[in-house]
């Protein structure tokens, strides 16, 4: 039976969350964090205290992927199965982990030391394949690194950072909060002037990217090295140091930018710090060896703005990330933050704000592309005593992490947009309450947003009579997801906010009329909200000047997969896919051939070379069978099998479907049966017709948008890459060399140098050979794990 129930502790957690049944997911996270699973006794106690039926809490506990009813190991290895990691070989890493620990994903070793979990995208796509152990990130994983990883995890001991400890770090210091209270717009501008006066732009500043990607690559130790070096003050110069939000160029992290020179240094290590301080900060010259070098010409480019990755972008929403410390409201105010809010509250009526947003042409960045202004207006005109304004930060698309980086890099811009929205939607007609629903897989984003909210509250930017606007009261609650992709769907998200399983409902009555707790609710995603201060601050005309006729402004994409420069890019609407992939992204890695680009996440489609000149535009992408989605852009090359990609997305959606309606639950399973058959070489010509019929039915008849778009990857690959399906079916071959049942591994004698490197790592002892003589693979023993292929430095292992 269970361990004893610690009622005192559970009561303290219940109190912490105000005994609010809507916070049940957050409460379960605490219990899972403490016990490494959800003990039955704890759940029964919580159900009783929260007045939730046992059956409902049991459903919640088994619905959300983050929870387990069985104990997890002391060290939890989470393998990211996001798209970017998948196309870079995440399954090989997972299999190696499974072999080394002798357990399968989802299981725990018998000694209770290790568990393996798979996670649908950790949002650090530039680092794929990615594994986290006890919350620490290990990027660019290979099978040969797995053993070291496990050894290191063991050595780390029981060093898990508990959730409670993490939250304590986010409390802003009380003394500052007491001093500043922004009672009206004048107080805000006076305070800003004060901050600006105390800031000398010529004073040397080292901005270290503190985004998840750079942190995973070692930004913390770089920061520490800078701190140590400057504390001795050997240079005699007062240098400021700052951890900023994500700069986007995650591929080359840790990134460091020096001001006022604006030199960008890539891949910085602690031992580089002294040279940067001496050469750049003291003497004003760039450190040549650390600057970005153009892979084509070999030319070094010291200026951040001249690096091609940045040069062709239009960074509005993301622009401030590199300049500010995301944990400092003062930084945000200093560069003009909250002036759009002041303008909205004191110079505009709610109707005028809505008109401005409508005129700007802003469309929802979360996938739907619905007019934000129109949505706001409908919500304002709906009936109800309260209006909920909600930030959708449940960025579940595998291969996308824009929202994460915005919340981690500039949380106040999202918050300011939300407060403006609350004013426009509710002021004068009803009360308003804000919510943000964030993925729990994004702990740093949660932490920074909590801090932003607390700072804003302390400054009087949340609460009663905000910025002196009589009668405008507004505050924000933070809710965390439980690991369910479907919760990005609006009705499912709202069910989850109410503390229920995240199952969508029919939306014949829209959530703007009857949403959260059946009240008018306005949901927009992170990026949409972050655009609002720009629009209100600079005007609809300015904003509408960018983009295409029906898609205005900019869009942030996470450009990942087999492209040279992976990272986050912000581009004006209307730019072509080709420009993004080849000019900004620097083309395909390792001189391979482009095959397809997948936009819009699992609900999007795969577009071939012939569609590369399509402009980035909501309607154009939809016409081509794909979609803008939230902005994932995954580049695939000749080594990617399109049948396998379709199968990957469908398998993802099978696991993420809520299972409520028949077409989504049963249809996806049946599609997978057929795709499995084809990948195993047992397909038939008639399967293709069957797939189209199933795909169409799932698309047309599913209850929500998850099912409604689930067939897109299947239908677009069938449309654009039918020959690849036929090669599997008729010729029994996988042209990309991915589908295991259709390939053999073999060593090309002429290329093999006899280096022995592949022999030991082979888990089957299936490679024989002597030093400096060609090796051989024993086909009887070979399980086609691909380790030898990955390890060989001479391309001597072939997949045929």
């Amino acid at each position: 039976m269970d361990i004893g129930v610690d009622q005192e502790w559970l009561d303290s957690i219940l109190d912490h969350f105000g005994r609010d049944p809507g916070q049940v997911i957050a409460i379960l996270h605490r219990v899972q964090d403490r016990h490494r699973y959800l003990p039955e006794g704890d759940l029964r106690y919580l159900a009783d205290r929260l007045s939730i039926p046992d059956s409902q809490l049991f459903h919640i506990s088994t619905f959300y992927g983050a929870f387990s009813l069985k104990p997890k190991g002391e060290h939890v290895c989470s393998v990211c199965m996001g798209t970017a990691c998948h196309v870079r070989g995440a399954h090989r890493v997972l299999e190696e982990l499974e072999r080394k620990l002798e357990i399968k994903a989802g299981e725990t070793t018998s000694d209770g030391e290790f568990s393996i979990d798979t996670v649908n995208c950790l949002g650090a796509c530039a680092l794929g394949p990615l594994v986290t152990v006890d919350g620490e990130y290990y990027g660019n994983m290979t099978t040969s690194k797995v053993a070291r990883l496990l050894k290191r995890a063991k050595g780390n001991g029981k060093g898990r950072l508990r959730l409670e400890d993490q939250e304590d770090e986010t409390r802003p210091s009380a003394d500052r909060a007491e001093k500043v209270h922004l009672a009206n717009p004048t107080a805000l501008s006076e305070y800003r002037a004060l901050l600006q006066a105390g800031y000398d732009p010529q004073q040397p500043l080292i901005a270290i990217c503190g985004g998840t990607g750079c942190l995973a690559l070692g930004a913390s130790s770089v920061r520490q090295a800078f701190d140590e070096a400057t504390s001795k003050n050997e240079l005699g110069i007062d240098v400021r140091m700052k951890f900023t939000g994500c700069h986007g160029f995650c591929e080359r992290g840790p990134l460091v930018v020096t001001h006022p020179q604006e030199n960008l240094y890539v891949g910085v290590k602690p031992q580089d710090v002294a040279e940067i301080l001496q050469t750049t900060v003291q003497q004003g010259s760039p450190v040549e060896r650390l600057v970005y070098h153009d892979p084509g010409t070999g030319e070094g480019i010291p200026q951040e703005t001249e690096v091609p990755f940045y040069k062709h972008q239009e960074r509005l929403v993301f622009g401030m990330n590199g300049l500010i410390d995301p944990t400092s409201i003062d930084d945000y105010i200093r560069i003009g933050g909250y002036s759009a809010l002041a303008r909205a509250l004191h110079e505009m009526t709610p109707e005028q704000v809505i008109a401005e947003v409508t005129e700007s042409g802003l469309r929802g960045r979360g996938g739907g592309g619905f007019s934000a202004g129109f949505k706001w207006e409908t919500c304002r005109n709906a009936h109800g005593p309260i209006r909920y304004v909600i930030v959708n930060a449940d960025e579940g698309d595998p291969g996308a992490y824009m929202d994460r980086s915005l919340l981690e890099g500039n949380p106040h811009s999202v918050l300011e947009g939300l407060i403006i929205g609350a004013y426009a939607i509710a002021f004068g007609v009803s009360k308003a309450q804000g919510y943000i629903y964030v993925r729990h897989e994004y702990p740093l984003a949660v932490k920074y947003f909590i801090r932003a909210v607390e700072e804003a509250r302390a400054y009087g930017l949340l609460g009663q009579n905000i910025l002196g606007k009589e009668g405008f009261h507004f505050d924000v609650r933070i809710s965390q997801g439980g690991g369910a992709f479907v919760c990005g769907e609006s009705s499912a998200l709202m069910a989850s906010l109410e503390g229920k399983p995240g199952e969508p409902k029919a939306k014949y009555v829209h959530t703007v009329h009857k949403g959260l707790y059946d009240q008018p609710s306005n949901l927009n995603n992170v990026e949409t909200w972050a655009n609002v201060p720009l629009i209100v601050g600079r005007g609809a005309d300015w904003y509408g000047g960018m983009g295409t006729e029906k898609s205005k402004g900019t869009k942030v994409f996470s450009l990942v997969g087999k492209v040279n420069h992976t990272g986050l890019v912000e581009v004006p609407m209307g730019i072509s896919l080709r420009e993004i992939i080849f000019r900004i992204g620097g083309g395909i890695r390792d001189g391979r051939q482009f095959k397809a680009v997948q936009t819009g996440g699992p609900s999007g489609g795969c577009l071939p070379e012939s569609h590369l000149d399509l402009p980035v535009d909501f309607d154009e992408l939809t016409k081509a069978g794909s979609m803008m989605g939230s902005g994932g852009m995954i580049v695939m090359d000749q080594d990617t099998c399109m049948v396998d990609v379709a199968r990957y997305f469908l398998r993802f959606l099978e696991g993420e479907s809520c299972g409520k309606c028949i077409p989504c639950r049963e249809g996806i399973q049946q599609i997978l049966h057929i795709l499995d058959r084809i990948c195993e070489g047992n397909g038939e010509d008639s399967d293709l017709e069957r797939l189209v019929a199933l795909g169409n039915a799932v698309q047309n008849t599913s209850l929500c948008a998850l099912g409604g778009s689930a067939a897109n990857p299947l239908l677009t690959t069938l449309e654009y890459f039918e020959d690849e399906y036929l090669a599997h079916i008729r010729d029994g071959t996988c042209p990309a060399g991915v589908c295991r049942d259709l390939i053999e591994f073999t060593i090309i004698e002429e290329k093999c140098t006899g280096c022995l490197a592949c022999i030991k790592p082979c888990p089957q002892d299936g490679i024989a050979g002597e030093l400096k003589k060609p090796h051989f693979i024993d086909r009887e023993k070979c399980i086609k794990c691909g380790i030898c292929y990955e390890i060989c430095k001479f391309d001597a292992v072939a997949r045929v």
């Binding site: 039926p53 059956s55 399983p501 809520c658 309606c661």
Partner: protein, 265 residues
């Protein structure tokens, strides 16, 4: 469904009808005598809309979409609805095939699918599954009985109906409402001499015996629940309906006090 008094003119399969605001397409079609197949729908329950068998084509100006008849409230004029258009017949057929593949072992499901023209499927069939996950049992237990003894477990292809933690629960009073509403007869209930047994929910609920004649009727848990909810005198509930009637007759004849006294039900 709420009706707000406004009346809308719509057309179903070419036949005009005026309906009050909020009427579902299913209700409107029924009034015209047009049968739309349903599975998860039950008149006593809020529409759940998960089996997708009742899909119809909805045209609103130039827009064409597929909606479920059971829960689509008519709120506009000039909606044109087709229950058997080519697209609908094709997609409904696929949905029925998916249903049949899941519950191929269920005679009820096979009969249902055959009635609507689907006799077999080449999709991968699941052996032994009788439950379509229509949700009627879970919804009746929560919304009408107010017990929420049973619920769902997990998600996606792992979704199933379940008692919490896979263990017997006192909240199941053995009322049999779930048995009654299940469209595929996959919940079995049996009265043994002392206990009522519902296998699927692992329920063994002691039978309530009539205070007078000793005949079993209902379960003790039902009695306790009713008592806790209604200010009905205890004795009334302790007698079976026949004895209650007899008691009432006896009291009218002056032989005994009425069982229930002033019964407030």
């Amino acid at each position: 469904m709420e009706h707000h008094g406004t009346v809308h003119q719509v057309t179903i399969d070419g036949r005009p009808i005026s309906v009050e605001d909020g009427t579902t397409i299913l209700e409107a079609a029924a009034r015209l005598g047009i049968e739309v197949p349903t599975l998860c729908h039950h008149p006593a329950l809020e529409p759940y809309g998960v089996c997708r068998v009742c899909i119809v084509e909805l045209r609103k100006g130039k827009r064409v979409k597929t909606v479920t008849a059971c829960n689509y409230p008519i709120q506009d004029d000039e909606l044109v609805i087709y229950t058997k258009s080519e697209n609908i017949v094709r997609d409904r057929r696929t949905v029925l095939e998916l249903l049949l593949a899941r519950c191929y072992s269920s005679p009820v499901v096979r009969e249902f699918c055959a009635k609507h023209g689907v006799f077999d499927t080449d999709l991968v069939k699941t052996e032994g599954e009788l439950c379509t996950l229509c949700g009627r049992c879970v919804n009746v237990c929560r919304d009408l009985i107010g017990q929420a003894a049973i619920g769902f477990e997990s998600r996606g292809s792992h979704r199933s109906t379940a008692v919490p933690f896979g263990k017997p629960t006192d909240r199941c009073i053995g009322c049999g409402a779930c048995v009654h509403v299940c469209p595929t007869d996959c919940i079995k209930m049996e009265d043994l001499p002392q206990d009522r047994v519902v296998d699927r929910w692992m329920t063994t609920a002691p039978i309530l015996k009539c205070r007078r004649c000793g005949k079993g009727f209902g379960t003790v848990r039902e009695l306790e629940l009713l008592r806790s909810r209604n200010p009905v005198v205890k004795r009334y509930l302790e007698e079976c309906p026949e004895c209650r009637e007899r008691g009432l007759g006896e009291s009218l004849a002056g032989k005994a006090p009425a069982s229930g006294g002033s019964v407030a039900v």
